[in-house]
């Protein structure tokens, strides 16, 4: 188990190193960010000075080495827009994204697994068919459209929910989150629902498919023949074998939503990292873009590791296979 975890950590470091080169090259290819940032009325001497101050007059490899040196010391550079350390900006906004994604995933799992169970266990019943149909709709509708519809229906027409923003932040056990105030939850509801839609449909379909596949297996037929109650068959036998692929996919989806919930955050003006990255890209805020992408790689590495460990806990046979 420990060697397994160690190996994953080393792999993650390698990915991080390769990514840092790729990201740096890609961002460098965008051209000189000062041209985008500078006030058009500035004279060339000022522009040249700004380029020099930011170290952008150096050749690519020097810029990269400087960046690497800073990164190893925990300094990813200052934002061109606000002169704040790039990593501070990300860490400051990350809690907002984390709470949004967590709530969205809870909704997705809370609704998706029971719905998938029903649809898988009784595929020809009316609810089973409806769930199957709705899950296809959920996968295929574009997020931004659903977001706008949610706003039109639940904010503008009925006025039940605010149109965006994070609302009041409360403190509980030293953690600051909008989960701890009613105003915060009120603001969180629509964006979380919007973000939950895709993973919800995904979980439903995965559960449904898993259940249907396993229902035909001999061990289920045997359990039935033995006279076990349906609820025991589902809880003890079916769910366990169905949960492993779901946990894996959910882990990846969790990372995807954390890193790329950009659309939802933008439409609901949610002050998370998605809104930060889109603004940084628009303004060529190079240090923030690079820091964000590296953060994303780190995030995925950690999530994958956790998912692998989780899978081992669900099905101990996996660790034996891995240890070999």
């Amino acid at each position: 188990m420990i060697t397994f975890a160690m190996r994953r950590v080393v792999q993650g470091m390698l990915v991080l190193a390769v990514m840092s080169v790729l990201v740096f090259l890609a961002v460098y290819a965008l051209g000189n960010p000062v041209a985008t940032l500078v006030n058009p009325a500035s004279p060339p001497a000022v522009i040249d000075q700004a380029i020099k101050d930011l170290g952008l007059d150096q050749p690519l490899h020097i810029q990269y080495l400087r960046f690497l040196q800073g990164t190893l010391q925990g300094d990813l550079g200052l934002s061109y827009n606000s002169a704040r350390p790039a990593f501070d900006l990300i860490f400051e906004r990350f809690p907002a994204t984390l709470e949004l994604t967590t709530v969205a995933m809870l909704i997705a799992v809370g609704v998706g697994i029971p719905a998938g169970l029903i649809a898988g266990y009784r595929p020809d019943s009316v609810p089973g068919r409806m769930i199957g149909g709705l899950s296809i709709v959920g996968i295929s509708l574009p997020t931004f459209w659903v977001a706008l519809m949610l706003i039109v229906v639940f904010s503008i027409e009925t006025g039940w929910f605010p149109t965006g923003g994070r609302g009041e932040v409360g403190t509980f056990l030293g953690i600051r989150s909008s989960l701890f105030t009613l105003d915060g939850l009120h603001h969180l509801a629509l964006p979380a629902l919007n973000l939950a839609l895709f993973p919800m449909a995904m979980v439903t379909r995965l559960t449904r498919a898993g259940i249907q596949e396993n229902l035909r297996e001999n061990y289920i037929l045997f359990a039935r023949a033995k006279g076990l109650s349906p609820s025991r068959i589902i809880r003890v036998y079916l769910l366990k074998s169905v949960l492993i692929p779901i946990a894996t996919v959910m882990g990846i989806l969790f990372g995807v939503l954390l890193a790329f919930g950009v659309v939802t955050e933008k439409v609901f003006a949610w002050p998370g990292i998605g809104k930060l990255i889109i603004e940084s890209i628009q303004t060529s805020d190079r240090p923030v873009i690079v820091a964000y992408l590296l953060f994303t790689v780190l995030l995925f590495t950690v999530i994958n590791l956790l998912v692998d460990i989780l899978c081992v806990l669900i099905d101990p046979r996996l660790s034996i296979a891995e240890a070999k």
Partner: protein
């Protein structure tokens, strides 16, 4: 128990549609503030700063100079200005404004490290800022510079002890935000909101609102939704496509006015072979067609500005025939908006030897100006009526500007750009966008087609050192006429400032597109 009560109250206030008191204003703003007032020089930032801080000189809605912290200013020689401070100004922390604060603020603005868009750009040619006495500040320049009052209007004044010690991080933390403006700083949540409150000891026209919240909503649709949903009282930068919807609603008003930003096309008139123009079969042309004024005229009169304004801009723009709108120095009332004449344009092209047309790539931004990508597609169609093969390429501004503005690089052959004039209150598009490219003297930096006209250059240089204002504007308008007759660039339209409010509010729009809380006024309707 207290906690439960608080929660219950918040619940109640959230669920009941919050009644709006006249004393509080919530603004849905497109652009977020950069907290350090000396870090990044842009109109969007200045818009926030003038409400919290204050500069020696202020500008009004129409970019005209009005007294700020200085009640009067005069030239004492060709290269020295004196600004006399108002004696009754106090900062939010109670200290009194003296010339030492002004000097320290200018020092900080000129020397702040790590700035990608430094204020030294606003203070070009300023040699020294020093205190003459407690209430007099002297500004000396290298050359006579008539727009010094506009330049000093960009720099926010903060107390000297803060200017000398505070870092950008201190401003971001909100611990040193002390100005002398009508509103004082309350709180700032990065990415979310900025809250200001009334400064009761403000020396000028008092604040209209007790408390102003700016919510940062960069997404256009989300900003409109926030207004329609009643979450905010006012939104700026309303996209034209939403204007009808907001006008139709009883709950909202739309306020529009011409902005100072002109949108125009630039052609590469310098190089013999320009990279994005070819014969239709892909072979090289003998000459760069844009060097021929007849080709430039043909393009100019082939564009139907009325159609662009009506159909692409939903009527919310104004056709342009020159580079600065009426009311700004350098505007020449004698220059007409070019009328559309496709037949004559074809004839001109044939006369120039391009009866067969040619292929050209039109480069545009898609996230910088109002409807920029759609305007470009319309332009592509209009130019193809001349028999040109037009390839329209739109790109984000972070890709566009580094390529377009790299004078040593490839540059574009035909591109669309916008220029706002309120920084100087006059046609600074002429020295920056039309004067020959001359990096040594800092002229023609945004002359991205490297147009060059010695007669216009001479006039522009004269105007830049002419301190008599009417005479300077006369010279600028003469230069404007010369370059427009030579079809140096192709003006398209002036954008509109579009602001929307909930009913019961009105707004005095700013040509510079500033979003100012005091310009929002309650009305009974």
């Amino acid at each position: 128990m207290k906690q439960t009560l608080r929660m219950a109250m918040m619940c109640a206030s959230a669920l009941i549609a919050t009644p709006i008191f006249a004393e509080d204003l919530t603004i849905g703003a497109r652009t977020e503030i950069v907290m350090d007032p000396h870090f990044s020089w842009s109109d969007a930032n200045t818009s926030y700063y003038v409400q919290i801080y204050g500069a020696l000189v202020h500008t009004d809605e129409n970019a005209q100079l009005i007294p700020g912290l200085a009640d009067e200013w005069k030239t004492v020689s060709d290269t020295e200005w004196h600004f006399h401070l108002r004696p009754d100004v106090t900062f939010h922390d109670g200290s009194e404004l003296t010339s030492a604060d002004v000097v320290a603020s200018f020092d900080r603005a000129l020397t702040l490290p790590n700035a990608a868009n430094p204020y030294s750009g606003a203070l070009t040619g300023v040699k020294a800022v020093r205190a003459v006495d407690d209430l007099t500040v002297s500004v000396t320049t290298e050359k006579p510079d008539p727009i010094i009052p506009y330049r000093v209007a960009q720099v926010q004044i903060i107390p000297a002890e803060i200017a000398e010690t505070a870092t950008t991080e201190d401003f971001n933390a909100g611990s040193v935000i002390v100005g002398s403006g009508p509103y004082r700083f309350e709180s700032y949540q990065a990415g979310d909101n900025l809250v200001l409150s009334r400064n009761d000891s403000y020396a000028g026209a008092p604040a209209e609102w007790d408390r102003v919240t700016f919510r940062f909503i960069p997404d256009d649709a989300a900003r409109v939704a926030a207004l329609l949903g009643g979450d905010v009282d006012l939104i700026d930068y309303v996209p034209p496509s939403f204007v009808q919807r907001l006008r139709d609603s009883d709950a909202t008003n739309v306020i529009t006015a011409p902005s100072d930003r002109v949108i125009y096309l630039i052609m590469d008139t310098e190089r013999d072979s320009t990279p994005f123009v070819h014969a239709k079969d892909g072979s090289e042309l003998a000459e760069n067609p844009f060097k021929d004024p007849r080709v430039r005229e043909a393009l100019t009169i082939s564009i139907d500005r009325g159609a662009i304004v009506d159909r692409v801009m939903d009527g919310l723009a104004f056709p342009a025939g020159q580079l600065t709108p009426e009311g700004f120095g350098g505007f020449n009332p004698g220059i007409p908006v070019p009328s559309t004449d496709v037949d004559r344009a074809r004839q001109l092209l044939a006369d120039a030897g391009y009866a067969e047309g040619f292929a050209v790539t039109l480069h545009c931004t898609n996230d910088r100006y109002v409807n920029d990508a759609r305007v470009c597609q319309a332009l592509g169609q209009m130019l193809s009526r001349l028999g040109l093969d037009v390839d329209v390429q739109t790109m984000p501004r972070s890709v566009f500007f580094p390529r377009a503005a790299d004078h040593e690089g490839e540059r574009f052959s035909l591109l669309m750009l916008g220029w706002g004039s309120s920084t100087s209150g006059e046609a600074d598009a002429l020295p920056q966008g039309i004067h020959s490219y001359d990096p040594e003297r800092g002229l023609g930096i945004w002359n991205l087609g490297h147009y060059s006209n010695p007669k216009a250059d001479a006039l522009i240089e004269d105007a830049m050192v002419e301190t008599d204002i009417p005479e300077r504007h006369r010279i600028l308008s003469e230069a404007m006429e010369i370059v427009m007759e030579d079809y140096a660039v192709i003006p398209l339209h002036y954008q509109s400032v579009i602001v929307a409010t909930r009913s019961g509010l009105s707004y005095r729009p700013w040509a510079s597109e500033r979003t100012i809380a005091n310009s929002a006024i309650p009305v009974s309707d």
